[in-house]
Amino acid sequence: MKIAFTTKGTEWESKIDSRFGRANYFVFYDEDTQELSSINNKDNENDAHGAGPKAAQILFNNKAQVLITGNGPGGNASTILEKIGVVCYIEAQEITIKEAYNLFKEGKLKKFY
């Protein structure tokens, strides 16, 4: 399973970025290959409109099945994420990617949809 995180950096110890569309990075963890990869999303930060759908498209293109984030995506992004069947977990605030992943595995993150 491939899991996407909204993050402020690209390492396991990097913090989660609580924003979705305007997150600094998307980090992907592929549980099958145990590989960690990332996409720089800083350009999206300055988009006046449509950062959410654009970010959802990045998840689609990277075949993410699960999203772990903070505040939760907005309406437009959620339309896409629900359509493509990404399962979304929220309220990973002020913690590292590693900690968020562990909470997810323990079933302690809140499911958004």
Partner: protein, 285 residues
């Protein structure tokens, strides 16, 4: 002449000034007042009007035709607002993000994104005893004011010659709807109140008008409350203060009844005269 009345901060007297200035000028001039604050038009509350024309307004939103689409991806690349998104073999359109620029539609090699009309609001043309009044009202749920403002300005241009003094009651703030409402004006009046909030927001509005290269001046409303920060700032930066409308209970009372002020309160008439004289002597028609 086109005179836009804007403010930065909301609730500083744009509509009060617009309606009174229109009525005052219409004594000796041909005047059309236009309420461009389409998200919450309220000039009509102060006017006795009769409707002479009404029309629905629309904007185009692309609609995807999957049968002819070749999935080339041009549409999503040219969209500045990510309103068109390609997901594998699907194109999704987000109408609320669309700015109706037609780029995706016009640049689609197979015409698979035809623009479909969506209602954005209603334009109404009224007559008062002495001047014309045009108002547009955004449909509830519609997020974008600019397309309707643009069409309303076009209606004014098409229906009123240059003989008319055109007064635009603009939206508050300094974002796109304000830019659209003021960018073609010959003169912009920024109305503010002499409070810290008013001062903060009028400074932003001043910067905006400077960036647009506008000829503009300041009117202070509710003069007597707050402090002298606005006046001192204008003095220091050579910005003309056209008028000071006093803070009076009588004004608030008339306003609360939806009545005009200038024909009942002499000081208001004097201040409108100051505004008129300044603008007419500084701007050629």
């Amino acid at each position: 002449m086109k005179i836009a009345i804007a403010s930065g901060k909301g609730g500083t007297g744009k509509t009060t000034l617009s309606t009174n200035l229109a009525s005052y000028l219409s004594e000796n001039n041909k005047v059309v007042l236009c309420d461009l604050d389409v998200e919450e038009p309220n000039s009509a509350l102060f006017l006795k009007t009769e409707i002479i024309h009404q029309e629905k307004k629309y904007k185009g939103i692309p609609e995807w035709n999957k049968n002819t689409c070749t999935l080339c991806g041009n549409c999503q690349e040219v969209c500045n607002y990510h309103a068109v998104i390609q997901l594998g073999d699907t194109i999704m359109v987000f109408p609320e993000l669309c700015h109706s620029c037609y780029a995706c539609s016009d640049l689609c090699p197979t015409n698979s994104l035809p623009m479909i009309n969506n209602e954005t609001g209603t334009l109404t043309h009224f007559k008062t005893n002495t001047f014309d009044f045009v108002e547009s009202r955004l449909k509830i749920g519609e997020e974008q004011a600019v397309p309707l403002i643009k069409q309303t300005l076009k209606y004014i241009d098409n229906n009123f010659s240059d003989e008319f003094h055109k007064i635009y009651d603009s939206p508050p703030g300094t974002s796109c709807p304000v830019i659209e409402s003021t960018k073609n004006a010959d003169f912009v009046i920024l109305i503010t109140e002499p409070t810290p909030f008013g001062f903060n927001d009028v400074k932003i509005a001043i910067e905006t008008m400077k960036a647009l290269n506008k000829n503009f001046g300041i009117v202070i409303n509710r003069y007597g409350v707050g402090n002298d920060d606005v006046i001192n700032y204008c003095k220091k930066n050579n910005i003309p203060v056209l008028a000071k409308i006093p803070n009076k209970k009588e004004i608030a009372e008339l306003y609360s009844k939806g009545e005009l002020l200038w024909n009942k309160i002499p000081e208001v008439k004097t201040e409108l005269e100051n505004i008129k004289n300044f603008i007419f002597s500084n701007i050629k028609n």
